[in-house]
């Protein structure tokens, strides 16, 4: 049989259903967000780790010019290397029918029977069957972006010779979970990774009996740094560019950055949701308990003990929180699935399933239940410990006093209505503060959750309009002499051409080293510039190094210090050079030098391996067609296409996230505003009804009542802007990504969006409450004392 207290519970819940539902929804948002982001983070991490394991993902990667197979004996003797594998990697230009832009391909020699490191996963078609054949395997990203199927053919410029290659199969590689030529932008439409029979590839590039790429797996206890040093010594005579670790491997870097961001987003925002949910729950409970003070006293007078009364209210809360938890788990699973699916467009894993670890559910549900229980016990203890005789006496009539404004002598500025509103707020300053804080919290969630758009726009503007304003960027298969500049300038439609040298070096300062590329920029370069975050364009000093702060920190260098530069190509000079300027750049660990100074350092005379062009739009297609035929161009990047594809992929995701966050924040705002309105309505029904009896209209009474809410919204929203900024700063600070700093740029549009969303939520809540004010039953309200 259901006990009477439980019936009371059921009926109280029904009576409070509006409030119960809004609270449960807020709890659901907190739990759903927490579960979704955590499970996505977990799923991503697991998919990556599993893939790495099954593919024997290497620990070290080394590129070199060409080494004979004979030196593998020397490599095998390096202590700490568990396994290594040599291969040939070549960047080439490609062509697909109907594609105007140049396409880049990276051809990699396929190890015999797909063994060892860099093992591929076949998704479609078949492995290359015949030795020496013109068949290739294509990475799935490119194949999908271009709709390639096994049996299709590609035109590839193999060492200057156009060659038709047939797609045998479509594969995944752990090295190209994310594939990009370097910029970090999605590049799948223009960048293909191809695997080819080793013998055929070697023959095409005169690499028989040699290799130019090395993969290494370390023994568990091996020192990464020691192995890198030993490898570099062995490979140096063969044009070694210095071995790099996983942390420098571009796909790994981008996947790991994303995982890191999920981790931060998955902890901070959902924790705020949960905290806000718990907070609302507490406020509502305190008021519920206060409103039921005399009922509680009656129960005690009837002989119910404290424990059963506390338990009764705990149950009330448990039902609400439980509903929120169940809803939250469902929401979290759905969102998590969706986000995981979204990531499959970015990252290609052989197995990528959304999975929620039990602890994530248990932890979030536990936090919600625990916090709610704590709040309940706190709220109710005050009333329960009150001797029943005292609880039975109605609480002393609220003591009003002239509000601060009036005490300051400003009363003649205000109408009686405003005075009532202000006094009401002042009478319960803590409660008003809580409500204001709750409103601010939902604004802050919106601001900090949607400022990404501004940050990305800012980033794109600095990187692609100011630092690299060129329209087409070319990279060459190897550094070329000064004549290349005039050749490029003569290409059809070229308006302006610049050429630069990017020199692979190892920088050394004390015991710290870093493998970097120094960009040589000629005086007056306009299409490739160093941009300081605060000061704009940074002039290149005529002598010495210009280094960005991130790299300087890595090497513990200050302006004026001298660093060792070991050139990793050509003459391999080793020089000590002064760091003339350290500046604040948005992205990367970059160093710049005057072009002439860099040429002196390289000791090869003027050489260029990158060119930047601005072009006459009318002749663009003609130019692109020409570029495709240039044998010494390994990649031609059309900036606009790249940005376009980036915008279209991110726009969809940003829209989704903005939508979800808006819903969450609006739910929270409604939860706060609606609940505080309902509770004050319950407390003040008598007062409002009396005003109606005195002859005030519904509109006037509503204005009196809702004016209070409006005032709190007006206070909460600006506070939310501040909190949102602080929260965004916290997220930025907690996201540990070495290569860049998320710019903390929040545009007015983001504040406006957050503010308006919360105002809309407030208005919606007010309308619902207004409906109740209009229906106040005057006689009934005045009959009861409460």
């Amino acid at each position: 049989m259901v006990s009477m207290l439980d019936r009371k519970l059921g009926r109280d819940l029904w009576r409070l259903r509006g409030q119960a539902i809004t609270i449960a929804l807020v709890v659901a948002c907190g739990i759903g967000g927490f579960i979704a982001t955590h499970s996505t983070h977990d799923s991503l991490t697991r998919a990556r780790d599993r893939f790495y394991e099954s593919a024997h993902f290497p620990h070290l990667f080394a590129d070199l010019k060409r080494a004979p197979d004979a030196i593998t004996h020397t490599i095998g003797r390096i202590a700490g290397i568990a396994q290594f594998q040599t291969r040939v990697v070549q960047d080439v230009q490609m062509d697909l029918p109907g594609v105007i832009q140049p396409l880049s391909g990276r051809i990699i020699s396929l190890p015999p029977d797909n063994s060892g490191m860099g093992r591929l996963t076949l998704r479609k078609g078949q492995w290359i069957l015949r030795e020496g054949s013109d068949q290739v395997l294509v990475n799935e990203r490119f194949a999908q972006a271009r709709g390639l199927e096994p049996g299709d053919t590609l035109q590839v410029l193999l060492n200057g010779k156009r060659q038709a290659l047939t797609v045998a199969g479509i594969v995944l590689s752990a090295e190209y979970i994310y594939a990009t030529r370097g910029g970090g932008l999605p590049d799948d439409e223009w960048f293909a990774v191809l695997w080819m029979d080793a013998k055929r590839l070697a023959a095409a590039f005169n690499m028989e009996g040699g290799f130019n790429s090395l993969l290494v797996r370390l023994e568990p206890a091996a020192s990464e740094a020691a192995v890198v040093r030993a490898l570099d010594r062995v490979l140096e005579p063969y044009g070694g560019r210095g071995a790099s670790t996983r942390s420098e491997q571009i796909s790994h870097k981008i996947v790991s950055q994303e995982i890191e961001q999920q981790r931060v987003n998955g902890t901070i925002l959902p924790s705020i949701f949960l905290a806000v949910a718990v907070f609302i729950l507490n406020v509502v409970l305190h008021r519920q308990v206060a409103a039921q003070r005399e009922q509680i006293a009656a129960l005690k007078a009837l002989g119910y003990d404290d424990r059963s009364i506390v338990l009764h209210y705990l149950k009330l809360v448990a039902v609400i929180v439980f509903a929120g938890i169940v809803l939250g788990i469902a929401l979290g699973q759905w969102l998590g699935h969706y986000m995981t699916r979204m990531y499959t467009a970015f990252f290609h894993f052989p197995q990528f399933r959304h999975q929620t670890l039990p602890w994530v559910i248990v932890a979030s549900a536990g936090a919600a239940l625990g916090a709610a229980a704590l709040g309940t016990v706190q709220a109710i203890r005050r009333v329960v410990t009150l001797p029943p005789a005292q609880a039975m006496r109605p609480p002393a009539p609220p003591a009003y006093r002239p509000a601060l404004l009036e005490r300051m002598g400003l009363s003649h500025w205000t109408t009686p209505a405003v005075r009532m509103i202000v006094r009401n707020i002042e009478r319960r300053p803590v409660r008003a503060a809580f409500t204001v804080l709750g409103i601010a919290g939902s604004v802050a969630i919106l601001v900090s959750g949607t400022f990404w758009r501004d940050a990305v726009d800012y980033f794109m503007d600095v990187q692609f309009q100011r630092a690299q304003p060129g329209m087409i960027y070319l990279s060459f298969v190897e550094p070329l002499g000064p004549e290349v500049l005039s050749e490029v300038a003569r290409l059809p439609g070229v308006v302006r051409a610049e050429a630069y040298r990017s020199l692979a070096v190892r920088l050394r300062h004390g015991h710290l080293t870093y493998r970097a590329a120094i960009s040589g920029l000629p005086a007056g370069a306009r299409l490739q510039r160093a941009i300081d975050v605060d000061r704009g364009e940074q002039a290149i000093p005529p002598a010495g190094l210009l280094m960005n702060a991130r790299l300087a920190r890595k090497l513990d260098v200050r302006a004026g210090d001298r660093v060792w530069i070991e050139v990793l190509e050509g003459k391999r000079a080793v020089r000590q050079v002064q760091v003339s300027v350290v500046f604040d750049e948005l992205v990367g660990l970059n160093a710049y030098m005057d072009a002439a100074a860099l040429d002196r350092l390289a000791a090869e005379g003027p050489r260029y391996n990158i060119a930047a062009l601005t072009v006459d739009a009318a002749r663009r297609d003609e130019l692109l067609a020409r570029i495709k035929t240039l044998p010494r161009v390994s990649a031609g990047i059309v900036k606009a296409s790249l940005l376009e594809s980036f915008r279209s992929t991110t726009a969809r995701n940003l829209l989704f996230f903005t939508g979800v966050l808006t819903l969450f924040a609006a739910t929270i705002a409604v939860g706060i505003v609606y609940n505080s309105a309902r509770i004050s309505l319950a407390e003040r029904a008598w007062e409002l009804a009396s005003l109606r009896v005195l002859g005030l209209t519904r509109g006037e009474v509503s204005a009196l009542f809702l004016g209070e809410l409006a005032l709190m919204l007006a206070a909460g929203i600006p506070l939310g802007f501040l909190l949102g900024y602080a929260l965004a700063a916290l997220i930025v600070a907690l996201t540990h990504v070495e290569a860049f700093k998320i710019p903390l740029v929040i545009l007015p549009r983001t504040y406006a969006y957050a503010g308006l969303t919360v105002v809309a939520a407030g208005v919606l809540s007010a309308l619902i409450v207004r409906h109740r004010i209009d229906r106040l039953d005057l006689v009934a309200v005045l009959k009861t004392r409460e």
Partner: protein, 240 residues
Amino acid sequence: MSAPSRDEAIFVGRKLTKVYRTGEQLVHALRGVDLEIYRGELLVLLGPSGSGKSTLLNILGGLDVPSSGEARWGEHDIGAADEARRTRFRREHVGFVFQFYNLIPSLTARENVALVTEIAARPMPAQEALRRVGLAERMDHFPSQLSGGEQQRVAIARAIAKRPEVLLCDEPTGALDYETGKLVLKVIADVNADLGTTAVVITHNAVIAAMANRVLRLADGLIASIEINAERADIETLRW
């Protein structure tokens, strides 16, 4: 109906005082009250507002504790008992009726009564309790659907359903009109007569006193007088 026996006091109060502290101020609600309450009697407490009636009643019912003095129920000093024992005492022996009924608004009349029968040792069925107060017909109504007098009768039903030894009523008619108040008082008198439940009724209306066995007058925290009614008036004839 057997006349209440002179010698069997179920409550004995000795030198009861109660001091409330509100901020700096001390309020002496009771200044040393000695009293006995006899089994089966109907005792009316009279006195002006603020004279300490509620305080005394609450101490007797174990809702509150005295600042000093003794409040004995049989062998037990309930004034000195802890909260748990006082809760048990209330649950087992006392039925309360308050001026504002203090019904649980979300429970029907029957359920409000069941609230008590559930935790009582040998209760009467909720229906019977409601029948006694003349509300058998309105059992499934919520408090908001009942008039003030009906609500107070539900409160009385709730108080008597556990068959308490004593019924403590604090201004049960204070919020009611004349006719309704009379009906409520009749119900209390009937319970006292039919079930033999000792009843203590607070009022500030002297006319009610006529129906009591004894009338105890409080003034300023002290007992001003005790009158014994040789002949109790019938409730129907009372006028006030």
